[in-house]
Symmetry: C2
Subunit: 366 residues, 2 copies
């Protein structure tokens, strides 16, 4: 378990600053102009000509872990390729290509990967090298699987790898948070596990403190992720949250959060699933807004899942189990139920816990 403790230079922004308020002076190519601290005193040189990095999907909230627990899921995620580009002005970043949803902007200040990459360059004090970034989206937008965080995590790690890993994990999370704050609100429950892997508990924001919770390596943890063809309106999902919570429900959710953490550390999958299913505050308000969700949870549990809830703010449903084979069966039941009870097409993925987080997957030496 790692505990990272350092002062946050960022002021929490809730809700996220609208992107339309950001007016870059030179659209397309931008200097590092954030208020993040410079971590390296001397400017490092690139150790690669280019790198390619992957960052995984993440499941935030995790039932009673609303707004402070998240985990990473292997085999789903985004790729960022980054190269030294003499045609880009030194100290600047250009986005050369995005494969995936057409609606993503190539303007670095309008793009999750761009914002995180620039924040990381700022921390590294990069002034003499221009970079080109290419983003390959593997995650759908607005699915509740941490799509923006995956792009940001891959980009921050790519910049750090290109310049010889000068930054620590905590710095990379801060750089990623810079992006999350502008896109979906100042919350670290996606970006932290996307970078760190495994389960992460956000202990505080001011200063930012993160606890990595290690699920025992000898045990399997399988996620069944079922994404319906439905747009969960973020505003509506947030508006559904109660402003005030009665003491009994508060105590209940707190105890379940404690039980969740204990189950993760112990590798108790039954206990983990039970805690995942136990939220009495957020899920009961949000589930009715996703057609079929309540039936899907019931179907997952009846089919043998240890637990099931909404991933992030939805619409993806997440269930946990201990074998891929059973995960496939459970996924089929969940897809069927989204169709029967919600009249929605859905796709299922059966994936393992990602323990590594965002990482280098390819490089070209100088």
């Amino acid at each position: 378990m790692a505990i990272c403790c350092f002062p946050s230079p960022l002021k929490p922004i809730t809700p996220a600053t609208p992107l339309t308020n950001l007016k870059p002076k030179r659209p397309g190519i931008l200097r590092c102009n954030f208020s993040l601290p410079t971590i390296t005193t001397t400017e490092p040189e690139p150790v690669f000509t280019s790198v390619s990095c992957f960052a995984p999907a993440t499941v935030a909230n995790l039932g009673p872990g609303f707004d402070f627990l998240g985990c990473a899921v292997d085999g789903l995620g985004d790729f960022v390729s980054l190269r030294v580009d003499p045609s880009v002005h030194p100290g600047e970043l250009s986005i050369s290509n995005i494969s995936g949803p057409k609606k993503l902007s190539k303007n670095p200040l309008y793009n999750c990967a761009g914002i995180a990459a620039i924040a990381t360059m700022k921390m590294l004090n990069i002034r003499s090298v221009g970079l080109s970034l290419s983003l390959e989206k593997g995650l759908p937008l607005g699915s509740g699987l941490g799509s923006s965080a995956a792009s940001a995590a891959a980009a921050a790690v790519a910049v750090n790898e290109l310049f010889g890993r000068k930054l620590e994990v905590k710095d990379l999370v801060l750089a990623g948070l810079e992006s999350e704050a502008k896109v979906s609100g100042y919350h670290a429950d996606n970006i932290a596990p996307a970078i760190m892997g495994g389960f992460v508990l956000i202990r505080s924001y001011d200063p930012l403190e993160l606890m990595s919770l290690q699920f025992p390596v000898e045990k399997d943890l399988i996620f069944v992720l079922v994404s319906p063809d439905f747009e969960a309106p973020t505003k509506k999902m947030r508006a559904a949250l109660p402003a005030e919570i009665g003491m009994p429900h508060h105590v209940w959710n707190c105890s379940q959060a404690g039980a969740f953490v204990a189950s993760v550390l112990k590798g108790d999958l039954v206990g983990l699933g039970k805690a995942l299913s136990s939220d009495k505050i957020v899920e009961p308000k949000r589930a009715p807004l996703i057609p079929g969700m309540e039936g899907v949870k019931k179907a997952a549990l009846e089919a043998g899942a240890f637990g099931c809830t909404i991933s992030g703010a939805g619409p993806t449903a997440v269930a946990v189990v201990d074998s891929e084979e059973r995960g496939v069966e459970i996924g089929e039941r969940m897809v069927e139920t989204f169709w029967k009870e919600g009249n929605l097409n859905a796709v299922a993925s059966v994936k393992r816990l990602d323990r590594a987080g965002a990482r280098l997957v390819g490089s070209v030496p100088r």
Copy 2:
């Protein structure tokens, strides 16, 4: 970590049923007449003529663990001696002696130890043997150190030991809960650690589920318990609790509860202390009702305590640290501050975590 899972035969009672409503037909000696299940099918015979048992003090709430976390403290507690007494009607219990506060009743139905002992006899189906119980109070009443739970725990364990340990820990907690429900409300965060030792998380009441959280055996955990000469009015302490909690404070306390659990399991004393100090919901409302408490917490932290909060509903203040020597110094500062800022005399105890819970300390074979 043990997980006990079984249906509770008891209906939660909040607030506690007033003792004045209980009208025993034969005051002083009472049959087992609770609705607890009989666990043993055949009536066991006593394996001792008499036994003596100890049960430790407990610290409930533990900051963000309000109403669902508690732990046991060694070296402070109550003793119960129990003997086969042919002069007591078979199947009945008499309280022969109580050393300590004069206001405790010898009527078993009005006494924590009596209620728990009778509940345990009922579970064991004891009909052929009469018992005499003697209670030695080591804990002051109303101190926030689980005085009633210690008496109940020692009594339940004494009955079970006398008849050859036929019941499991879970049954003993249920018997103890029978007592707590009548005396201070249906809550297990004192009785469960008093019986089980260590840290216990109350996961649910219906069915009752308890999680034992093991603090690593190779690490020391020292409690500084400072009890001022002040009666914390239970009604006032409960009335001070907010009925509704804003979402930010809910998320904060949930995350701290998770961090507390992780710190216990990892043996991270700094993290544990920090979480202990972090409650934003209950402590801020209750501390001002105990003269000097806010200053005492500050003094404890300044003197090097890792964390400090109110024990149970108070008035005892509890701080944690890693050495007895430093614990003594911290205790002195806390006592001074109770006097300076609260005009209260106070006494300090420096104790270790009790890992064993209620236990046999003496016996006379048949």
